[in-house]
C-alpha cells in the first residue's frame, strides 16, 4: 500500500488565478431549461471560468506564482524545485515546467518537471515535491497545478461541456525540520483508463483527419476523437467504491479520526458524488468546503482552488488540520493529511 509519511516540509502559501470570463449553466442553450436546472441542482455547477483561446494553463499558473512569490518576498534564487501538474501542457515537446522555470526567473540550479495527472494531481504533486525536498538539500519549492479543460470539451456534449472550468494554482513549500509530517495514501487502477479519455492525438492513436470528425454518440452528446470523453456512471461508481476506504486506511495508518480533522477538502468532481461521499463518511457539511458552484470541476487544481476561495481566512490564521482527497482520471486517487500554519493566501486573482 502506497501509504507513507513525509516529515520536514511545510506549505507556506497557496494562490490561484482564473480567467475573468464566466459561463453560466442557465445560458447553456444546447440543453433544455429543465436539464440546466438539473445540472445546477445535482451536479452543482452554476457558473464556470473559461479561458480565452491562446491562454494556457501555465499562463494562469505563472500569474498565481508571481503573486505568491512577491507576497512571500521569497528570493527566487532559493527556489530549486518546480513541478507543473497538468493535462493541458503548452507543447507536446518540451516539458512545460522548463518554460515556466525561465518565465518565473528561477535559477538554473532549479530542477523542473511535469506530472501528467488530472483530478488526483494536487495530492500526488504534493507527495512528489515533498519527497524531493525531504533531504533538506532543497529549501524552497513551487508546485503548480492547473488545467484548461474547456479546450477539449465539445459544446454539443452535455456530459462534459457544462461541467469543467479553468484555473491555475501555485503552492509554495519550504523545508522546515519542525514541520508536522504530511501523510499520504496514493492508489491507481489503470484498468479504468477509458472512463475519462481523449482518444486521439497521442502515440497510441496518432492524430489523423478522422480525429476531427464529430459523431453523435447519444442524444445531446456529440464529439470527435480529440474531445474529452467521460463515462459518468463508471467514474461515479469508482469514486463511491474507492475513496472512502482510501481515506479510512490513511486514518487508520496514522491513528487519527475524522474528528481530529478541521476540514476535508475533496476534489470538486460533482456535487452529487461529493455529497454522497460526505454522507458515507458521516461528515458535517461545515467541514466540507466547496468551489464547484462558481468554478465547476477544475480538475487537479480543484483542491487548492477550494482552499483559496472557501478557506482563505481560516488558513491565514493559525493552525488547521486538513484532509485532502482527490480522485478521477487514470483512474488515480489519493488522500493526504497535513497541518497548515498561518499560510500566505492571496485573494483569488482574475485575469
Amino acid at each position: 500500500m502506497a501509504t507513507f509519511f513525509l516529515g520536514g516540509i511545510k506549505i507556506t502559501g497557496i494562490s490561484a488565478a482564473v480567467p475573468e470570463k464566466k459561463e453560466f449553466t442557465s445560458d447553456y442553450q444546447w440543453i433544455s431549461v429543465k436539464e440546466r436546472e438539473s445540472i445546477i441542482k445535482n451536479i452543482g455547477v452554476e457558473s464556470r471560468r473559461v479561458a480565452e483561446k491562446g491562454v494556457t494553463t501555465s499562463d494562469l499558473c505563472v500569474i498565481a506564482a508571481e503573486k505568491l512569490l512577491n507576497d512571500l518576498n521569497w528570493n527566487r534564487n532559493e527556489v530549486e524545485v518546480l513541478i507543473f501538474v497538468s493535462q493541458s501542457r503548452d507543447y507536446l515537446v518540451p516539458t512545460t515546467a522548463c518554460i515556466v522555470q525561465d518565465r518565473l526567473g528561477l535559477p538554473h540550479s532549479c530542477m523542473a518537471l511535469d506530472i501528467a495527472l488530472g483530478c488526483s494531481g494536487y495530492v500526488y504533486g504534493l507527495s512528489v515535491i515533498a519527497s524531493l525536498m525531504q533531504s533538506g538539500a532543497i529549501k524552497k519549492g513551487l508546485l503548480l497545478v492547473g488545467d484548461i479543460s474547456t479546450l477539449t470539451t465539445n459544446y454539443r456534449d452535455k456530459s462534459t461541456y457544462p461541467l469543467f472550468g479553468d484555473v491555475g494554482t501555485a503552492t509554495a513549500l519550504e523545508y522546515n525540520r519542525e514541520a508536522t509530517a504530511m501523510r499520504f495514501n496514493l492508489q491507481t487502477d489503470g484498468s479504468g483508463y477509458k472512463s475519462l479519455i481523449i482518444q486521439d492525438g497521442g502515440a497510441r492513436n496518432v492524430m489523423s483527419r478522422k480525429s476531427f470528425n464529430v459523431k453523435k454518440i447519444s442524444p445531446g452528446i456529440y464529439r470527435s476523437r480529440l474531445h474529452l470523453e467521460l463515462d459518468g456512471i463508471e467514474v461515479f461508481n469508482f469514486t463511491l467504491r474507492e475513496v472512502a476506504p482510501n481515506i479510512k486506511a490513511l486514518l487508520k495508518e496514522t491513528g487519527k479520526s475524522l474528528g481530529e480533522i478541521d476540514y476535508v477538502v475533496f476534489h470538486q468532481a460533482n456535487r452529487l458524488i461529493n455529497e454522497t461521499l460526505r454522507k458515507m463518511l458521516r461528515l458535517d457539511p461545515a467541514k466540507v468546503p466547496y468551489s464547484i458552484k462558481e468554478f465547476g470541476n477544475t480538475s487537479g487544481a480543484s483542491v487548492p482552488l477550494t482552499m483559496v476561495v472557501s478557506l482563505n481566512e481560516t488558513l491565514q490564521n493559525g493552525n488547521t488540520r486538513l484532509l485532502l482527497s482527490a480522485f478521477g482520471v487514470g483512474l488515480s486517487w489519493g488522500s493526504a493529511i497535513l497541518e497548515t500554519n498561518n499560510l500566505c493566501m492571496p485573494a483569488l486573482i482574475e485575469v
Partner: protein, 78 residues
Amino acid sequence: MNIEEFIKNIEAEFDDLKPGILKPESVFRESFEWNSINALILIAMVKTEYDVTLSADDLIKSKSVKDIYSLIENRVSI
C-alpha cells in the same frame, strides 16, 4: 427491506415524481425523465441506503422498478 420502502426512497430523491405513481411494475424510462443525471441520483441513493453498487449495465438490463429492486435484494449484505 421491502419494495414499498425502496419506492419511497426513490420518491424522496426525485422532485418530479408524485407519490403513489410509481409501482413495482412501473417501467423506469416511462415513469419519469430518464437521463444520466437521474441514473446517478438512483445509483447514489442505492449506494447510500443499501450499500449496493449498480452498474450502467444493470440499469440497461433492468426495465421495471421490481427488476432493480431484485438486483439490490440479491446483492445486499445482511
